[in-house]
């Protein structure tokens, strides 16, 4: 693995390796001293062309826990706002010796351009590009799903497992969602069944070949007793002239996870949300704050997943010690 650009690029064994490595990383994070020496001397640049404090902090924490040097490069506070191109920014980072660039960009495909341009030699890690992909979000979702549905519910050590037979429902603005695109690909690769639920205006034209089912009826899908429900953020600005739905109230009535729908979920089902939430629009407080909500845990798992991704991209070739070296809690295999 040279770059992490798209969830669809991962084979099942690569995805399982990342999840297993995440488990090893998460175990180290329960120790008193959380910092590992693994990426000492390496430089990770967080290149954020789009505001996202949550994702940036998650990557920054992950890199620092692995002892990497971290540079935060925010487009708003840099010369990009004065018109510097992606190319010049990349050449600058290359000159500064970045070993990995974590890029967040509002343009779909920007990380691919960066990785294939020849402007820089470091690893490129996609932290969300436009309405295209957000692979580490899908990985942390998969990790969370596996921990609960395979590990805690199934009573087995989930290491080595996929998500075979699990039914995950993703509800909301599929059209504009990089989280949905990444999850459809990754969860399918891991053996899960995925159902997308949205009003027809928020389902992309051309969705037919996607490895999932599509429904316009949330209540009907709840009849199938899914194992997990993932609610996506709905942006209120999508309602303007020529809008995608008539009103917040109508959206909430048809597609919100309110108390009534939440009560219909099977006992073992978990509730997820990539955040930030619009309480009262796509999700009610009853669902978000319930014991079956894993929304806060998703955030914590995000750090472990990003540690695993950085570790596999930068140290996977075997030129750095695995996490915790001598006291390594789980063997890391297939890291490539």
């Amino acid at each position: 693995m040279k770059h992490l650009l798209s969830a669809g690029d991962l084979s099942r064994s690569e995805a399982v390796t990342i999840l297993d490595t995440t488990a090893a990383m998460a175990a180290t994070q329960e120790r008193e001293i959380k910092k590992l020496p693994t990426l000492r001397g390496r430089t990770v640049v967080n290149l954020f062309f789009e505001d996202s404090t949550r994702t940036r902090i998650s990557f920054e924490t992950a890199a620092k826990r692995l002892s990497a040097d971290v540079i935060n490069f925010s487009a708003r506070g840099s010369s990009v706002s004065k018109g510097e191109s992606l190319k010049d920014t990349a050449l600058t980072l290359q000159a500064m010796g970045a070993d990995a660039v974590v890029i967040r960009h509002s343009a779909s495909g920007a990380p691919h351009v960066l990785a294939r341009s020849g402007w820089m030699t470091g690893a490129v890690l996609n932290a969300g590009d436009g309405t295209h992909q957000h692979p580490t979000q899908a990985l942390l979702d998969a990790y969370t799903l596996r921990r609960h549905l395979v590990g805690l519910r199934g009573g087995v050590d989930p290491v080595g497992h996929g998500l075979d037979g699990q039914h995950v429902v993703i509800v909301g603005d599929i059209l504009h969602s990089r989280v949905a695109r990444s999850n459809v690909e990754l969860l399918h690769t891991l053996g899960a069944r995925v159902t997308l639920v949205a009003p027809p205006t928020l389902v992309p034209v051309g969705v037919e070949p996607w490895t999932c089912e599509v429904s316009y009826d949330f209540d009907q899908v709840l009849d199938t007793e899914p194992d997990a429900v993932m609610m996506l953020r709905v942006q209120r600005e999508r309602m303007g002239g020529g809008g995608f739905f008539p009103s917040a109230l109508e959206y909430s009535r048809s597609y919100g996870l309110d108390a009534r729908r939440f009560a219909r979920l099977p006992d073992h089902a978990i509730v997820m949300h990539p955040g930030p939430m619009n309480r009262g629009l796509e999700i009610s407080a009853d669902a978000a704050d319930s014991p079956r909500s894993v929304i806060v845990e998703q955030v914590g798992n995000g750090v472990a997943v990003r540690m695993a991704a950085l570790y596999l991209l930068l140290a996977g070739a075997g030129d750095a010690s695995p996490p915790g070296h001598a006291e390594n809690p789980a063997p890391i295999e297939g890291a490539a």
Partner: protein, 439 residues
């Protein structure tokens, strides 16, 4: 003026013939001209060009070229663009109006026309804007441009659609006074406000905002009905979808005076290429699906589509060396058009070289009302000619092209055919595949 004797050229791909070019005209045609009576002296003194195995076509005419001058000389100039045209086998190009300033006055179109005449590599016929500043609101002075030295007969806001139905109706009606044609860039603006690529399976996966086929088809349907209502000529630029082919076919059956254009890239490339996120494949209208390419090829072969126009759209490197959404729309095409048509239409058995002459020379000249271009290859006709080696194959190298820009989507691809010589009014602009300098 030097006389030239092409020996053994296959006129429109037919049996070998000698062609004598003298005083800007085709002076004689026939087998073994050096042996004949009258023409013999001239033929014996002429510069011989061995044309055995080569196909002779009328000089190609492009109804759709962006020469970028005035205003964007960093992308192309009239001089560099017409040199590229000559190398591509063109003897006449129509320069689109979206320059800076916009070609919406007699002054600007005359400037472009003079720059073309001074460069001397192809006849430059300026296209006038339909509306002032391409804003789609007020008709530009079409009459003044038609009556200027540039004698404009094609008007277009290309790059933008004349979206207002009333403005389009008036333009179609008004242009009748000077036998001009309105060439429409069919793109419903509201349906394509943020569009980045063809809307379909690939856009859904790539997360790029879609440019739906219906945004093109809805405007074409409206415009053919408007043209019928007011009894005017309509030309549809760069038609790209299967549905558009169907609508134009229907309109022609109904007797509506409509002509249509396809570009080489819409005959050869699909939206699958966008998966690379390489902006060299970003173009407007966008690359469509394989089914659309097939329908456009069928439409060109059966005459529904009348012409191939290059939509040669040069851009400086910085406008393509970036993320997809930030990149400019457009591809260069003058130096690859004939090769792409050969690959897509001739080598697939769908068209003969006579058909190529029709869609790349005769019909464009007729639609643009260019009197001395797109003429038959016959004695006494102007010697605007293109000599092609159909058996050659070449790999396209954008850095080696004469256009000032490098945004060719065919870079690295192997294409058939090579332009060996181009004659403009009896003088060679290209010989042995190279530009003739010092014209």
């Amino acid at each position: 003026m030097t006389t030239y004797l092409l020996t053994g050229a296959r006129v429109l791909g037919e049996a070998p013939t000698d062609v004598l070019i003298a005083d800007g005209k085709i002076a004689a045609l026939g087998s073994d001209l050096t042996q004949g009576a009258e023409a013999a002296d001239a033929a014996r003194d002429a510069q011989r060009i061995e044309a055995e195995g080569l196909v002779l076509l009328p000089g190609l005419v492009d109804l759709h070229t962006h020469l970028r001058e005035p205003g964007r000389e960093d992308a192309e100039t009239v001089a560099s663009g017409t040199r590229a045209a000559a190398l591509g086998g063109f003897t006449c190009v129509h320069a689109m109006a979206n320059t800076s300033p916009v070609a919406d006055t007699a002054g600007v179109v005359e400037q472009v026309w003079r720059l073309g005449r001074d460069a001397g590599y192809a006849d430059v016929r300026p296209v006038g804007a339909v509306t002032v500043g391409l804003a789609g609101e007020q008709l530009a002075e079409l009459g003044a441009m038609a009556q200027s030295a540039a004698a404009v007969r094609v008007f277009s806001d290309d790059g933008r659609c004349v979206a207002d139905p009333v403005v389009m109706r008036r333009a179609l009606e008004y242009a009748k006074a000077f036998d001009a044609v309105i060439a429409q860039h069919a793109q419903e603006p509201r349906l394509t406000a943020t569009a980045q690529m063809h809307e379909g399976v690939v856009s859904a996966e790539l997360g790029l905002a879609g440019w739906p086929a219906v945004a093109e088809e809805a405007i074409i349907a409206r415009d053919v009905l408007l043209a019928e209502h007011v009894g005017s000529r309509l030309h549809v630029l760069h038609l790209s979808t299967a549905g558009s082919v169907e609508i134009v076919r229907w309109a022609k059956t109904r007797g509506i005076d409509v002509t249509a254009e396809a570009t080489p890239h819409h005959l050869y490339l699909t939206d699958e290429l966008v998966r690379s996120y390489d902006p060299v494949f970003k173009v407007n209208p966008p690359l469509r699906t394989e089914a659309d390419v097939e329908a456009v090829r069928a439409g060109l072969a059966d005459g529904t589509i009348d012409v191939v126009g290059t939509d040669h759209a040069p851009h400086p490197r910085e406008d393509k060396d970036c993320e997809w959404a930030a990149a400019a729309f457009g591809m260069t095409g003058l130096e690859t058009a004939l090769s792409v048509v050969q690959a897509a239409m001739v080598e697939t058995g769908r068209m003969t070289w006579a058909d190529v002459a029709r869609v790349m020379s005769f019909e464009p000249a007729r639609i643009g009302r260019v009197a001395d271009q797109g003429r038959p290859i016959a004695v006494g006709e102007p010697a605007n000619l293109t000599l092609v080696d159909p058996d050659a194959r070449r790999v396209v190298v954008p850095q080696e092209q004469a256009t000032a820009s490098m945004n060719s989507p065919f870079g690295g691809m192997e294409l058939p055919g090579r332009v060996v010589a181009t004659f403009l009014h009896g003088r060679p602009t290209v010989l042995d595949g190279r530009l003739v300098e010092g014209r």
